[in-house]
Amino acid sequence: MKKYNAFCRPAIVISLILSMSILIVSSAKAADPVKVSVLTDMSGPYAGITATNVEAAKMAIKDFGGKLLGQDILFVYRDHQCKPGLANQKAKELYEKQKVDVIFDCPNSAAALAVSKQALIHKRLFFSIGSGTTRTSGPDCNRYTFDWAYNDYMLATSVGLWAADNLGKRWYTITADYAWGHDLLKHFKHALETKGGKLLGNDMVAFGTADFSPYIINAMNAKPDVLVLLNSGKDGVNSTKQAIEFGLKKKTKIVHALLFIEGIKAVGPEVFADDYVTGAWYWKSKNPGSKEFVQQWRKKFNKPPNWMNAATYSCVTQYLKAVKRAASKDPKAVIKELEGHTFRDLLANPGYIRPEDHMQVGKAYILRAKRPEEIKEPWDYFQIMDVMPAEEVYMDPTKTGCKMGCF
């Protein structure tokens, strides 16, 4: 017995150590590859603009080399149809079942807020690109959420300040009657008042109204220099078409909250001619890598990308680079690499990720929609009138209401 025991104990210990090390080594080897996901509107109201963000992300991964931390980068995507409830459900599925490390995009402010909460619960990253709410970089900010390329404050302030200086100081606004519209109105009004302008009146319009003629009549009655249309998509088209009908555009300039090249192509440039809007980027940009990106995109889609596509490409690229710098995909390490980081890419030259509120800031482009006779190249619907620096168009980071907590 003694002989058996003397042999047994060391053998047991050695085999335990061996099996433990095999387990540790194999679990280290099975350290999962970086898994990237895009959650966007692919069949809802904004699909015409955002569905291609999936391709933008794929392109960014491919251009990065397709590999990170020694393994292939994995990619999945989901459609939330611009519905907050569905976004919440998909975000949970992505973080829990698909075990993604990061979610990109999520247009629709309520949806983005929901996903942001999921990111905090699961302690994984979320980059809000498509939604405009200032709350994700404001009162509802958290350490795991980043806001990329734009928010409502930047949209309103950039073209607001510029329009007050260049188009006139007497404004009338027609606002889509829900959270996004109200938020934009607040920021536009603020921008106008800093320049000493006057808001002559505002009409709140139920989302989905087809006939804006009563509001156009209201606006014309006030004789403004600028009519600001705080709506998008179908409502934007209807209000603009009807403003033309009543002859409003003869005396008043129109400023939009959001307008994309796809929207102009869909209904024809004569509808939006001489209207103004802000963009975070335009495909004629000379930023590093911009031309190549546009060329690649054109080959695939036969049209240039819109600035949401460029923002997605930039955001995915910067995330992958941050993981590389951190040499780990651990969210905390990556977040530390992102906060305070300055970069130059096709979207922003330069771009800066503010540590106080996780907002990625860059210049804003004031765009004028060209008249049909001015369009010399297919899809060249905008003229860049001015470029505004980030400091002027983003809220002071100490005033956003964001209390960036710990991990």
Partner: protein
């Protein structure tokens, strides 16, 4: 708020009313004669606009060509729907037809979205109707005046057809008592097809007329659908006069609401409808027989 401003808004309410009138005429006729609540009516309206776009873009770039043929094509399509799809559901309880038309609405909208995209297609005002006319109290777009006139003519036409022609009287008889009409040897199912076709044709006409002043997109019918039911309830199911007067009333209520306080505009029409349902459920001109 000057009196000139009030007159402007009230006059413009007629336009809002016109689209409602055309759509509600079709809806009302279909319900009145066939007992079908057509949830797909908004989708047919949208389809009319897309047919007009397709005609002007690919067949003949003339608005008047589309103006004449789009409603005719839609009427034919409506008749085909009735013959091949709806007819099979008559013997079932009304809920089944409602569900079917609801499903049809979703199918039509999604097919259009898949073919044409969700952002819409261009459609401009015809050159002969561009510009505005000085009415004294305001400069009003020519095209909208044209819209009001066409609506008035169509309503008159439908009323004359139903009240003064033999076919019209057969249709009216079929509403009251379809089995009796059948027993008298008249092919009632052909009458049903005709009525459904006319109703959808009117929806198509509304779509063509709306195309220059609205965003022609897959969901354009959704904005009107609920309001059309309000019009039909206020005016009375199955009544031509009811649809016309109901449509104008609803248009004017919205215009007035916007003058007072815009968020209230749409709520007012629902309050109005609720009041009607409580006080006089059959609407202004509806017949009591409907409420069984």
């Amino acid at each position: 708020m000057t009196s000139q401003f009030v007159i402007m808004q009230l006059f413009n309410g007629l336009i809002l009313g016109s689209i409602y009138v055309l759509l509600s005429l079709g809806l009302s006729i279909i319900f009145g004669m066939l007992g079908i609540i057509n949830f797909a009516h908004g989708a047919f309206y949208m389809l009319g606009a897309y047919v007009a776009y397709t005609l002007t873009a690919y067949v003949c770039p003339n608005f008047w060509f589309a103006f004449i043929f789009a409603p005719i094509i839609m009427a034919g399509f409506g008749a085909a729907c009735e013959v091949f799809l709806l007819r099979r559901l008559y013997r079932l309880p009304p809920l089944y037809i409602m569900l079917f038309t609801f499903g049809l609405m979703m199918i039509i909208q999604d097919i259009i979205r898949m073919i044409f995209g969700s952002m819409g297609v261009p459609f401009g005002t015809p050159k002969s109707l561009m510009g505005a006319v000085n009415l004294g109290f305001m400069c009003y777009p020519k095209y909208r005046l044209f819209l009001i006139i066409i609506t008035a003519l169509s309503s008159l036409g439908v009323w004359l057809f139903l009240s003064r022609t033999r076919l019209g009287s057969i249709i009216r008889a079929g509403t009251d008592n379809s089995s009796m009409v059948d027993a008298l040897g008249i092919n009632i199912s052909r009458i049903f097809t005709l009525v459904f076709g006319i109703g959808i044709g009117l929806a198509g006409l509304a779509g063509v007329l709306a195309a220059p002043i609205q965003n022609v997109s897959p969901l354009m019918g959704m904005d009107f659908l609920i309001d059309c039911f309000v019009v039909v309830v206020i005016g009375g199911m199955g009544s031509i006069a009811g649809s016309i007067i109901g449509g104008v009333i609803v248009g004017e209520i919205i215009a007035s609401g916007i003058m007072i306080w815009p968020p209230i505009a749409h709520m007012l029409i629902y309050l109005f409808m609720a009041a009607f349902l409580l006080i006089r459920p059959r609407g202004l001109f509806g017949r009591e027989a409907f409420h069984d």
